[in-house]
Symmetry: D2
Amino acid sequence: MTSFADITPTLERLAIEVPSWAYGNSGTRFKVFGTPGTPRTVEEKIADAATVHRFTGLAPAVALHIPWDLVDDWAALRRYAEDLGIALGTINSNTFQDDDYKLGALTHTDPKIRQKAVDHHFECIDVMDATGSRDLKIWLAEGSNYPGQADMRGRQDRLAESLQKIYDRIGDEQRLVLEYKFFEPAFYHTDVPDWGTSYVQVAALGERAMVCLDTGHHAPGTNIEFIVAQLLRLGKLGSFDFNSRFYADDDLIVGSADPFQLFRILVEVIRGGGLDADSDVALMLDQCHNIEKKIPGQIRSVLNVQEMTARALLLDREALTAAQESGDVLEAHEIFMDAFSTDVRGDLAAWRESRGLPAHPMKAFAASGYQDGIEAARVGGTQAGWS
Amino acid sequence: MTSFADITPTLERLAIEVPSWAYGNSGTRFKVFGTPGTPRTVEEKIADAATVHRFTGLAPAVALHIPWDLVDDWAALRRYAEDLGIALGTINSNTFQDDDYKLGALTHTDPKIRQKAVDHHFECIDVMDATGSRDLKIWLAEGSNYPGQADMRGRQDRLAESLQKIYDRIGDEQRLVLEYKFFEPAFYHTDVPDWGTSYVQVAALGERAMVCLDTGHHAPGTNIEFIVAQLLRLGKLGSFDFNSRFYADDDLIVGSADPFQLFRILVEVIRGGGLDADSDVALMLDQCHNIEKKIPGQIRSVLNVQEMTARALLLDREALTAAQESGDVLEAHEIFMDAFSTDVRGDLAAWRESRGLPAHPMKAFAASGYQDGIEAARVGGTQAGWS
Amino acid sequence: MTSFADITPTLERLAIEVPSWAYGNSGTRFKVFGTPGTPRTVEEKIADAATVHRFTGLAPAVALHIPWDLVDDWAALRRYAEDLGIALGTINSNTFQDDDYKLGALTHTDPKIRQKAVDHHFECIDVMDATGSRDLKIWLAEGSNYPGQADMRGRQDRLAESLQKIYDRIGDEQRLVLEYKFFEPAFYHTDVPDWGTSYVQVAALGERAMVCLDTGHHAPGTNIEFIVAQLLRLGKLGSFDFNSRFYADDDLIVGSADPFQLFRILVEVIRGGGLDADSDVALMLDQCHNIEKKIPGQIRSVLNVQEMTARALLLDREALTAAQESGDVLEAHEIFMDAFSTDVRGDLAAWRESRGLPAHPMKAFAASGYQDGIEAARVGGTQAGWS
Amino acid sequence: MTSFADITPTLERLAIEVPSWAYGNSGTRFKVFGTPGTPRTVEEKIADAATVHRFTGLAPAVALHIPWDLVDDWAALRRYAEDLGIALGTINSNTFQDDDYKLGALTHTDPKIRQKAVDHHFECIDVMDATGSRDLKIWLAEGSNYPGQADMRGRQDRLAESLQKIYDRIGDEQRLVLEYKFFEPAFYHTDVPDWGTSYVQVAALGERAMVCLDTGHHAPGTNIEFIVAQLLRLGKLGSFDFNSRFYADDDLIVGSADPFQLFRILVEVIRGGGLDADSDVALMLDQCHNIEKKIPGQIRSVLNVQEMTARALLLDREALTAAQESGDVLEAHEIFMDAFSTDVRGDLAAWRESRGLPAHPMKAFAASGYQDGIEAARVGGTQAGWS
């Protein structure tokens, strides 16, 4: 049997990047509600992200989105973040909000628009050089709404060509990470709808091109942990975008909709070496706090990942393997469920305290006055959002 | 065998209400693209709707959305519409964009917010009195995002209470129509998620309360035509919101994603008397033209409904019944498919011409110069959208 | 805060009926695997069911399926069961295996076949009179595979007529419980596909007609706990068929696929009075043990229900209501998740021992030698299955 | 504009393999209904398949399933088939009905069981050598029902190893075709659940290993034509298993559930060269005629494929490309729908007659007396089914 003490070395390595845009306003196509204290600047977003890290010890880096987070002086921003104890992380490109991209960007039939989209990624790589970021994450919001509207096959070829240009530009220590998504904002076809497509596209590029798995981007019923296992087996799992969903890409707090699924995913991450000391798998949140407060929403999220990681690490793999190999279906399942059924909240609280962190980050944050402070201070200006 | 001539009396009755908001801009949570010629005022929306009717003879009424379409002088607006050959139709309420409604409106725990939402519906009924509209359509965007966030059962009771207040206010010739939706904007629970819930709520109100079936508001795989048949059987199918979908509530052009499904739905509408001369079932579009031009998008939509209605009317019901009763599965299916496989485009074009309408409404609109006219004229101002 | 001691009075009332057919062989359309020790007779099935109860204290009744479990002497069977400490429970009818029912039974176009199906239910009611069973459960395996094959509307009317005949025959202390199912064995339409249809059919019959909710019979993504809340609100939730699913009607061990969903369902059961002392809601398993051993599969299942019931009972409803009414989304969700995160296994084990039950029923059963005994004894004959 | 005459050269090449098991009984886990005239032997199955070809000219080969169709004298069977005007086609292996395979076959933890499953495929290759079949089709019914039951990652590695052994044995003119399936008969994980997994497994084997796409084996909402386009782009689309579905793997008549989807699939097949003279893509049916007559069920199926192929060939690709490149969403969609809306039944009937085939194969078969003949002749013996 594995004890909590056995697993703390791995838990210590657990790091979950938080996205700058989680601190701005988000919503649905029907309404984006504003909230007091919402950041107006990238610096305020970074301050909030650093706060999440300060209370949890789990979020040492913040991902940026270009152009939403564009600044003139990257060196200054980097120092600003480092002074707050947080690093600048993954750079996310955006080819879905410019009018030119209405019908496609990297896949567009017009070579000038494709080049514009490629150039945008070159700009992102320049930012990476300045911030020291490793990963360029590409979420391709491209596709079509009506059968016949687009030539899916030709778009796939043009995508390969555009990605090659971008890949050729990234540095030796940098990676291109390609996200896939089942649907939305396109409603008939998506150019990278599944892990298979992302895999064949990045496999054609080279070793530093990887797949990004967003937990909310699958068809109903998809066994996500199988994909995790497969991509780790193929050496192509670059990163996770964590969130949870009941229906579509709901972007809810990770672990809130199906905690057992999150557990199963983390079991496969661990099984495939994704939490090993030398692992390159990046864990990141990508969520929307449409109705709940954003900073505690993020705190809760990284805690959920930590809690399920702890349960997954407690899995008695030796006993499990023995039961699996003996063909004892119920015994193997029970060993698996025993790990999931373990309440690790107490052990985690004690361990946090031993590391100088608050035992109960949610309560500590609520008591800290930080939220009141930003609500009082951040008056006027334009609240950050998805633009 | 039924001939095309046999079905034209029913086709003549076919009327599909168009929504004012289809002419404004819409999009996804990621981006709303603007387009040249988009209306800035409710009058311009009505002018566009009337254009759809002029080219098709199919859209004699336009639905309004309150507060998006609020005006001071309803009598003037009514005359304006009538002069353009179109009537003001269904009034749609809105309880999803006011900050007070973030966590609920008709279901909110706070009685003051519930009353505010009820009052909004009273205001809508006042509008109906002024416009002569028959139907008050309520789409309830309420629900919750996280398990535990809300007491689903208590909300159901409060909903019943709020609806009763609204129902008590509508006139003897007016109807309350309650729409259901599987999910979105709420991502864990929706207060009226399915036809069953809408049915039990309106059944508790009385005879003039009916269910609205939006074709995009169901779980994957749902047999929608079964629901149509059941609601007609129960005398509770008030109206349709037509659109089509591949994944979620995609709000694509009706008939573009699964024309056979639209055919099957119309077969049940006809089977249940929904196109009879004395039918009260209202047909309406509710769509988003995110990337395509809006007026031709609407023209195409009403033509799709007309085309599938014609095919459905051509179904040889006598032969079908005989095959069904003899248990000949393949014969019954073939008779059904024969109607669906019939190309009615030529007959419809000829019939349109015989009624003084353009044979090819899409081409006629394109050739008419209307689009160029509005693009040139509608410069400046704020383009209409969902706010 | 609720303590474990607070909830034991309710836990003591928890009773889950087990189905006789769970002890026979089951499988998929591809293969039914046999297993040593499988019962050959209804008596052997009852002996196995009684064993589940003996090790858990949770399964005091066994449901029967007619004609699979038909015997000549019901009084003797009843005594046999009672001697083993178990009661005969719900009677399940079968209108899906006779050749006459290939295209329908209670809904068939041929009145002779409908009457035959009605007569079968009369026979089931006779059995109920002999066994003392309260509930007649009707799962309607009827529907069609091809559009056009059947007149869905006419079938609905015939169903109402057939059900009325059956309902008129049940005794004053008996109930008719109508199950709904999304699909399978019919693949285009099912005559009772959703709770709404079951509800309108039983509401038309009278007070002793109720809805049966099988947790595996919904469209992907359906919020089942909402339906639980709604049916309890309407006073029409007759019984549960518990099992779990990832994809279709997988009929896996309840709680094995999504334990959090089972928790949420039980929270609504409790919220709606379904575990109150005077509750009429019947809890039952309906599962297939295709590859795992059947008796421990059943033990595991009732334990899963018990475990999630305990967690659900531990929910701090006072605090939850306060958080819900204050609109604190994250606090309400956290209170909810705190109950779910509680590891009740230790408390349950101790409590079981205090009641003279084995602390660990799975281990106690494995150590008991019962499985070896039946494997040695049940040689020859025909293993029970779905026929 | 393309005329019907333009497309007949391609239509002439259209060939759809039919499965021997479609003529035997099939059903659901609840019931397999028998039907008069069902074959008792492989010869009778082949006679029925040849009948489908005789009436349609579309089904020149019949696929066999081992061991269901095992015979002693393959040369004799081959001659028997050829005399009836039909070839023996794809050989399908079976690793899902032997008790040893309950928990896996090619992926089993026990090397002896894996070797047994590999040996079965060697036997299938021997059959192929005797029948002259090109394709060995592997549908992997393996997976697990419960989380923890199996090590998904290890199974993937063992699968690769087993497939390599099989691939090494096939001849230079033979191919290994690997089918994927979302779920069933396993209900938690499937070892080859999606095209990505099939692709990475066959890509690791070599050029003569290909993917088989069964149209019913996807998650709800999956854009299948996208996968068709992608696999053709990658040169890895080996074959189709055609059927249709509303919910799960319903195995209904191809084109009966969503004819527009079948049209879209065939558009991509044509776009990717899948109907070119030198194409290696094999088209095959894989269906169940649970309630309808089997031979006309198959006739209807190949006619549906032919009809949708004709519509797809009529697509005005030049105009479509122009509309796509000009970004005219509605025009491109309309050109696409115009092809789909074309009623080709008359042209096909005339063309059939010109080739010496019945204009209306369904009617001609019904009038032929073949069904009466087999119902009279095939009395006694054991009707063929899935065992």
